[in-house]
Symmetry: C2
Subunit: 339 residues, 2 copies
């Protein structure tokens, strides 16, 4: 099939390519007759403006990149949905990539996206990304970047976050206020800022309520899976510390804890209250249902695109962008796993 | 920032653009010295080959489109992951769009993808898509399309499916073999082929085992949500039919049924066995855990990309593609919600 080009249309009508292009775009200096002729022929030939040629001219692809650590993940699936939804409304399409929490993949994927001339990139940093040169480099080249959820304050760009420390403080405070005396925290791996902030929020709350922070009450999960929650539950049972409240780093860990403790005959919440983090769908399904911190992924995704879009608009209008950090509010969702 | 072009590099070195291009691509007819000069200058200037210009030349964008009904959905998230993973390996990137089960969105999104010159499109049809002109039209234009999961046999293209009818037969047979005498089916809305096939598989199994098919035992859920499962559970309780086994269209419905029946004092599985469909993550978490049909999303996503990739390669080599329907095997996962 021969490619239908604007030149073919112009040649057929005996006009210039520029005139044909203007006619399609309804420029005022083109006669009604020419416009009608061009449009009719374009329709007949099923002419599609070549977006590559167009993009080449105005240096805009209207495609953005989105790099997240994991796709099959309730929170990140909500993020993807939020980004795609907000982007489509403004005429942008989204290429999604999964870093698998790997710095090497993240670096490679940024290169792949640049090769496709994306207009900007949204990133939630991989767990083992501690060197930010690859991101700083593209920002320096003038490619707008917005970070969300897993961010770094060392990177100068707009960011979308929640206040992990405050949210963790409130979750722990709820356990204290409802009568828990010996409260454990199940944290994730050491590095990501979210782990550190949720741990600090737990510690703040303990100390702010006249309790003594005890390192022995902090358990570390290798990963953040359901199975890890079950594993830590065994450690908690073996530790004989009379733990009567647990604040877990994520709902998945909390669910593993809840199911394993129940299997061991522990009454939830009568003997042990459990509170998770993220408000995954499954927290409505567990038995008892899981109290948790609601982390609004859809809103975060939409906010991240909005910041990127503003920056892209500024760039087009040659206006400098002032980087901002947008904080999306969280809230406690109290269900039946807490007293 | 001035754009670094191949012309700039060529002009700087006093060679032609063609020579500069060949030098970068290591053509044998270019001298080692020229290759070294061009590559060094390109590195110094941080030259990036313009993918739009490249694509314009070889009419390939190395981007494909993926349209699914819903992103925040365990099965489809697995599909997305499978597609992106398989595509990245072959150097393709994926633009994902959500149709929200709407024919109008699906039509619009196909147009959006074509404007970006995607090389091919993967689609799981929206629930209310019953007219296939929009898909046939792009196939006729020579754009490779592969359908998966929600497909139509009326569209001539490669497809990736599971055998819903056989899988539903096996699930129902399991209930019969384990002693259930009055088996209900909770089906989804009438239209999609998956609903029809799973219903027929249920009916086949009932009739193949000397039981009488009874319309009154088939309940229809408006949507496929957890809340709908709870609603249908109330209808089942009110129907007084001594139902002792339920085959539900999806795990979400099954989970709603399970939780609501338990709340009403029904012992699962002693009084009622329940079996779902899809093997969502949550089926491991319910109490009791949910027996279900494993529908392998990751494998389906990878298979769908593989078929598209073969068709794209054939197209490049001007070899016709013979359309095939690949069936991905399912298997029963027996947990604790069945006797």
């Amino acid at each position: 099939m021969a490619k239908i080009t604007l030149r073919l249309i112009a040649d057929t009508l005996g006009i210039s390519v520029a005139t044909a292009s203007k006619a399609l775009k309804d420029y005022p200096d083109i006669s009604q007759k020419t416009k009608r002729d061009v449009k009719e022929l374009a329709a007949t030939l099923k002419y599609k403006p070549n977006s590559f040629a167009q993009s080449l001219r105005n240096q805009e692809s209207k495609i953005i990149g989105l790099i997240i650590p994991e796709i099959v993940h309730h929170f990140f699936a909500n993020i993807i949905h939020g980004v795609i939804k907000a982007a489509e409304k403004e005429g942008y399409l989204v290429i999604t990539l999964q870093s698998d929490e790997s710095y090497e993949n993240e670096k490679k994927q940024i290169e792949l996206l640049l090769e496709k001339n994306v207009d900007g990139i949204l990133i939630s940093l991989a767990e083992d990304t501690v060197n930010f040169k690859h991101i700083k480099a593209i920002i320096d080249e003038g490619i707008p970047v917005v970070l969300f959820d897993k961010i770094s304050k060392l990177i100068k760009c707009s960011q979308v976050v929640i206040d992990d420390r405050k949210a963790a403080f409130e979750a722990t405070k709820y356990l204290i206020d409802s009568g828990c005396k010996t409260i454990a925290h199940v944290r994730g791996p050491l590095k990501p800022q979210t782990t550190i902030h949720r741990f600090l929020g737990y510690k703040d709350a303990i100390e702010a309520h006249g309790m003594i922070y005890d390192k022995a009450l902090v358990f570390e999960a290798d990963h953040l899976s359901y199975e890890d929650g079950r594993k830590v539950a065994k450690e908690i049972l073996a530790s004989n510390q009379n733990i009567d409240g647990i604040f877990a780093f994520t709902d998945l860990l909390a669910t593993g804890l809840l199911v394993k403790l129940k299997e061991a005959g522990v009454m939830i919440p009568e003997e042990v209250s459990i509170i998770g983090f993220s408000n995954w769908f499954l927290s409505k399904i567990t038995s008892p249902t899981l109290s948790t911190v609601n982390q609004p992924g859809l809103e975060m995704g939409m906010a991240a695109f909005k910041l990127l879009f503003e920056e892209l608009s500024n760039k087009k209008n040659k206006v400098p962008t002032e980087f901002v950090t947008v904080e999306i509010p969280t809230n406690l969702v109290i269900r039946n796993s807490t007293r």
